[in-house]
């Protein structure tokens, strides 16, 4: 019974962390990705190089940086956020945002110039053009969201460093699997893994339903 309660609690923390970090990363990364994919501007090359480098950032390094920032003597230590879900979201965002920028850029660069040119010719406002770019690339952006979510829910290195894998507080599916494996509880670890896979499957099915509805609209 207690095990079931703990499992649901871990599941809740995992979903909360993954959804928040996916939302924040997409809100920051998608506009930047569309912007870099859309046109030529000063600093575009630098953004692309930086994004490419950060896409390969090892999770433990991201975790270490966030840990140092939020530790007692760090510049953000006064916030007292270390070993909380909030700081796990911060670490996740550092890892996922470059991925979101990179994939959005490569996906939207295919049609962003033509859409912008069409919109410019029709005297659309900047806001209307931005909304058009997003709606025309809805399906591509949906796969970006799925990738971000997938990366977030599967991440273990950074979240265990900054979250501390604290029972009833910051333990998530991946860190729980690691702990149970270390303890030798392979069957429970495997069960947790299956639950994690099921979540991914549900999210993907929901996304494909959304895409189908959009195609039929």
């Amino acid at each position: 019974m207690n095990m079931d309660r703990e499992l649901f609690q871990i599941l809740g923390v995992t979903l909360r962390m993954s959804l928040f970090s996916t939302c924040i990363s997409c809100l920051i990364g998608m506009p930047l990705g569309v912007l870099t994919g859309k046109g030529d501007f000063k600093g575009k090359g630098t953004i692309k190089k930086l994004t490419g480098t950060l896409m390969g950032l090892p999770p433990v390094v991201a975790g270490l940086i966030v840990y140092m920032l939020f530790s007692k003597n760090g510049p953000l230590g006064a916030l007292g956020l270390l070993f909380t879900v909030e700081v796990m979201v911060v670490a996740q965002c550092i890892l996922i945002t470059p991925v979101v920028i990179g994939i959005t850029e490569s996906m939207t660069s295919i049609n962003a110039k033509s859409i912008s040119e069409t919109a410019k010719g029709l005297n659309f406002s900047k806001r209307k053009t931005a909304l058009l770019l997003l709606s025309e690339n809805k399906q591509a952006l949906l796969s970006v969201v799925l990738t971000a979510f997938g990366r977030s829910i599967a991440e273990v290195g950074a979240v265990s460093l900054v979250g501390g894998n604290i029972q009833w507080k910051t333990r998530v599916m991946t860190t729980a699997i690691m702990l149970e494996t270390n303890k030798g509880n392979f069957s429970f670890a495997l069960a947790l893994g299956i639950v994690l896979l099921l979540i991914s499957l549900i999210v993907n099915v929901l996304a494909s339903v959304l895409v189908k509805e959009d195609k039929n609209a």
């Binding site: 049609n111 033509s114 859409i115 912008s116 040119e117 069409t118 410019k120 010719g121 029709l122 005297n123 058009l132 709606s135 025309e136 809805k138 959009d214 609209a217």
Partner: protein, 222 residues
Amino acid sequence: MLEINDLKKIYGDRTVLDIDKLKMNKGETVVIVGPNGSGKSTLLKILSGVIAKSEGSFGFDGELYYLPQQSIPFRKSVRKNILFSAKDSTDKEQRCNELLKELQLMHLADKNAKGLSGGECQRLALGRILINKCDLLLLDEPSSAADIEGTEIIENAIKRYREETGCAILMTTHSPRQALNLADRIIMLREGRIVEEGRPEQLLSAPQTEWGRKFIGMWKID
């Protein structure tokens, strides 16, 4: 209406557009012809603000609309594509229906525009522009993907719009027949420069340059 002075576009060490002077009057239709890479589209892109000029100046009165060569159909129905492009006004539904009829797209009105053929897409792209009133219309090869019937529909719509609004039109084409059908004045561009300019009959009968004579000699007017 439109005035261009010493307008240049330079990429690296290559000057792709170099126009000393060009003036257009209100209500006038000027058709630009010339081989690929002569700077026709570059000129329209600069005037519409899609790309920046390198040197020189230009100015025009009133509102400008621009139809690029590759105008993307939006992921909406054909009707919604036109309505989405219209400025807010009480009669936009009525004008949309008139355009759908004129461009012979009424039977496709509720279909997703992504499924249209190349020629239908061009008619739709023109409809999205013509739903609004403007003073200067820039059209970049507006019927390049259309068949003979589609081209006639497009040309008739352009003529009707011109008569109704009195707008000036600056357009490019590879079709001599279209240039002669629509132009008050034809401009020939070569390597970014104006090499011939005049009324259609004037250009046909007495081109001023050897290149102009050769270029007109290649025209097969159907």
